[in-house]
């Protein structure tokens, strides 16, 4: 491109670099720095929320334990769920991974609204402080779902307001990020990158952004309602004065069901990136995976009351939500089958990123199957609000989202830091985590069906053996994260330097140096076709074919 052509194309303009410490690392406008800020902050909340879970499992090692009082136990699971969904899961998959990778994968220099991006990030520590400070006053105890009327009673005072405020703040952050990412993807793709030439992670991030933007506002409304009832006595959920407790359930779940798709779709996107790279072959069913993501996004708004089958819904409501929940299983299945088929006739390299993807496929499939069991209204009568549901959610959220996050971390670590992680430690991490995960959560299906409810600090002694086994497995699971932390620490200090493309991948982030320069691309790339055609030349007109590297091992 000539200088005059560069000047005419606005996206090609490179700003001068940030010069002060504050502008570089604190109030940075650079999507990649913001991504790291999200990783560190959400990672910290992951450790807190995980410790809360381990405290719970110590209490549940035996029936009638007195490790935690009932009130503290209730606070523990409420904050565990609240933090994992809103302070860990959603920030990691959108704020961290979305920010780090999506703009580069579309050939842009940054997101559409960098200042809003920075604002979105800083709402995360504020929200975290609000939510966790509720521990000082006695944290909320009615689960991450905080159903009234009981959530308005326990405990008295400031903590419910803090919880509402904290979740509201992170909700605003999520809404803004959704808007930002959607505009970025629609308006800032490099020349030649049509929608069907976008990497699948961008598809996933786009649908997720749409959900974040549209659904989260309902959460904000629900929280505002709970807050004004709690503080000003407006009787929204108060039966005695014309309100209805079930109203909260409808408004809350209208957001929170799309929320779980916000949690999983980016993980699906990560899977779609890692598999082609580590089998060096095009993804099978690109269009099916892309369009099924959009279908899942739309359908996710139509299934919320499957969380409410026992809440006195009308027959026709139960039927409607049962059918749509079963419908949404089909596009999900299509993806899983397409991903497995991509391994067929590949050149498979079982490196840590792919191992975590295989673990994801294995566990998420079981989570999907138990999801279908929950979709049937009569079967749900036995399963609802029991440990069967706890098992299901952890298979899809831990086996799905968290395994996807680790796959992405191992994959993009060299790009983000310029250093490789230790592959042997990665394998130890994967195998211990995968085995301990299954030993922790598989038995929960069983005790749930036999009659163990959720949100209990003690249980019928007949479940004691299983709970002890689950608790011990969970300690091993928690310990396996230490292996990653050690790996990350050692990589930062003495990790093998990584070039631009250690995995021999083909999406645009691998065409620039590691770590990525602040301007991403010196010249905006020109895209000629989709990114997954291994064996063909790189599909970029102005990028050297030398970057079509071979994998380092």
């Amino acid at each position: 491109m000539s200088i005059s052509e560069l000047e005419q194309h606005p996206a090609s303009h490179i700003h001068p670099p940030p010069d002060t410490f504050i502008k570089k690392y604190v109030f940075s406008l650079d999507h990649k720095v913001i991504a790291v800020q999200y990783f560190v902050t959400a990672g910290l909340f992951l450790v807190f929320a995980g410790l809360l879970a381990e405290l719970m499992r110590v209490q549940l090692m035996g029936p009638n334990n007195h490790v935690l009082s009932t009130a503290v136990f209730d606070e523990a699971y409420s904050l565990h769920g609240t933090a994992m969904v809103w302070l860990v899961g959603i920030p990691l998959v959108t704020g961290a991974f979305g920010n780090l990778i999506m703009p580069v994968q579309i050939g842009a220099r940054d997101v559409a609204f960098p200042w809003l991006n920075m604002l979105s990030f800083w709402m995360l520590p504020v929200a975290g402080i609000l939510v966790f400070s509720s521990l000082l006053f006695g944290a909320p105890q009615a689960g991450w779902t905080e159903y009234p009327p009981v959530s308005l009673q326990l405990p008295l005072g400031a903590s419910l307001s803090l919880w509402c405020a904290g979740v509201f703040v992170i909700g605003v952050s999520s809404t803004i990020t959704g808007l930002n990412f959607l505009v970025t993807i629609i308006k800032m793709r490099a020349p030649g990158m049509t929608y069907t030439r976008m990497p699948l992670f961008v598809w996933a991030t786009g649908v997720t952004a749409f959900l974040s933007m549209i659904a989260t506002a309902n959460l904000s409304a629900a929280l505002a309602g709970l807050f004004i009832q709690h503080v000003f006595g407006v009787p929204l959920y108060d039966v005695g004065r014309g309100g209805a407790p079930v109203l909260w359930q409808h408004v809350f779940w209208f957001y929170s069901h799309p929320a779980v798709y916000i949690l999983i779709l980016p993980a699906f996107g990560i899977v779609s990136e890692v598999i082609p790279t580590f089998v060096r072959r095009p993804i099978f069913g690109y269009k099916a995976i892309a369009y099924s993501s959009a279908a899942i996004g739309l359908l996710s708004f139509m299934v919320w009351a499957h969380h409410m089958f026992t809440s006195g819904l009308q027959h026709w409501e139960q039927l409607f939500f049962m059918i749509l929940t079963m419908v949404i299983a089909v596009p999900t299945g299509i993806k899983i089958f397409s991903w497995v088929t991509t391994l067929w006739r590949g050149k498979v390299r079982l490196d840590s990123p792919l191992l975590f993807v295989l673990g994801f496929l294995s566990t998420f499939t079981l989570g999907g199957i138990t999801g279908v069991m929950l979709a049937s209204v009569p079967a749900d009568a036995q399963e609802h609000a029991s440990y069967f549901v706890v098992a299901h959610i952890h298979y899809v959220l831990f086996g799905g989202t968290i395994f996807g996050i680790f796959a992405g971390l191992y994959y993009w670590w060299p790009k983000m830091t310029g250093r490789m992680l230790d592959e042997r430690l990665g394998k130890w991490h994967f195998w211990i985590m995968y085995l301990a995960f299954n030993l922790t959560f598989l038995p929960m299906h069983w005790v749930g069906l036999l009659g163990m409810p959720r949100r209990v600090a003690t249980y019928d002694p007949v479940f004691a053996g299983t709970n002890m086994f689950v608790s011990i497995s969970s300690f091993v699971l928690a310990a396996s994260i230490l292996i990653f932390i050690i790996n990350a620490w050692r990589s930062a200090r003495q990790g093998e330097p990584a070039g631009p493309n250690p995995w021999g991948a083909r999406t645009l982030e691998w065409m620039i140096p590691s770590p990525m320069p602040y301007y991403n691309f010196r010249d905006i790339p020109i895209v000629l076709s989709g990114p997954y055609d291994y064996g063909k030349p790189l599909p970029y007109a102005n990028i050297s074919q030398d970057l079509a590297m071979v994998p380092v091992h």
Binding site: D74, F337, L343, K347, G504
Partner: protein
Amino acid sequence: MKQEKTEPLLDAGFWRAVAVMAIISAALMWGVVVMPIDRYLPEASTVSKPIDDLFRFCAFFGAPIFVFVNGFLLYFAIRYRHRADEPMDAVGSDIHEHHGLELTWTIIPSILMIVLAVLSYRVIPLYYPTDQAVASAVTLEAIGHKFYYEFRYPGLRQSVMNELHLPIGVPVTIDVTSAEESPDVQTGAVIHSFWVPEFRVKQDMIPGMVIPIHVTPDQIGIFRIVCSEFCGLGHSHMWGKVVVQSKEDFDKWYADQNRAAAAEAAGVQPISLAGGVASAGQTLFNAKCVVCHNAAPFAQRKVGPGLADLFDDPDHPDLVTGKTATPSNVADILVHGAHGDMGVMPNMQANGLSSKDVADLVAYLQTLHH
């Protein structure tokens, strides 16, 4: 779609792997069909088996999906490994779509979902009553409280607490709701759930809503009622019993309830604490009181305070009624109940206590030291 070589796309190794997965799937599917669920959790109502069969349907088709997904993952990951003698930049097949395959794995799950939806739809009326079912069945009320169940029978003047007696084989409609404990949302009724795992029936108890469910028990025995909707500090301890009896035993129980109610209504005698037997009181305590109280010092609360050293600690706090901790003041609470700050102490009828039981409990509490 371009073929790399002239060999078939799916070779002998592939079909061998499929055969292994098919055998494992078949074994699991057979296991799903023959598994005696009733042995692990009795199928004690007429809707239990239909619901278990829906679960079996899902597991029957879920098993091969699980086996084949995991099986192919394992097989492809091992068989198609990049080998050390291959060039570092070797690539895999470029086959990236197959309309027949993709259509198949869209249509077959869709058909399974349709079948599951139809089968499920037919089970729903078995426990959510149609109007005719409501008209023909006996109707009871189940009311959730913090933290116990209250059952009201037609023709019984007094409610029965925590024990739902039912005659075998008789369809009943249970109107499920939550109590109107106080007009203040801060201390008022919350959502509970009425779940009988052996019946496979669960209905949330929601303040302001009366939701009918339809149950026909078909096994004699004692089954659990579990609260599965978080309702406060006593949630972990909120559970009751369903006692399914023969028609004769049920009629006898029903008549006894009326007799006891009449006797209580006939004359209210002051409770005599003399002759209370501590060992009997201990049995009652362990059966009824440990739900909310610890046999431990005052500070070790569950829902209510610990009850050890009630009478021999000169610094013992006053009772929740504001009176000093004496045997007769404690007996008053047992008889009339009380409102605590975290829950309601039920009265003697709610707890199913006779006057002798009250005396026994007080006698036991006098011996309870930590």
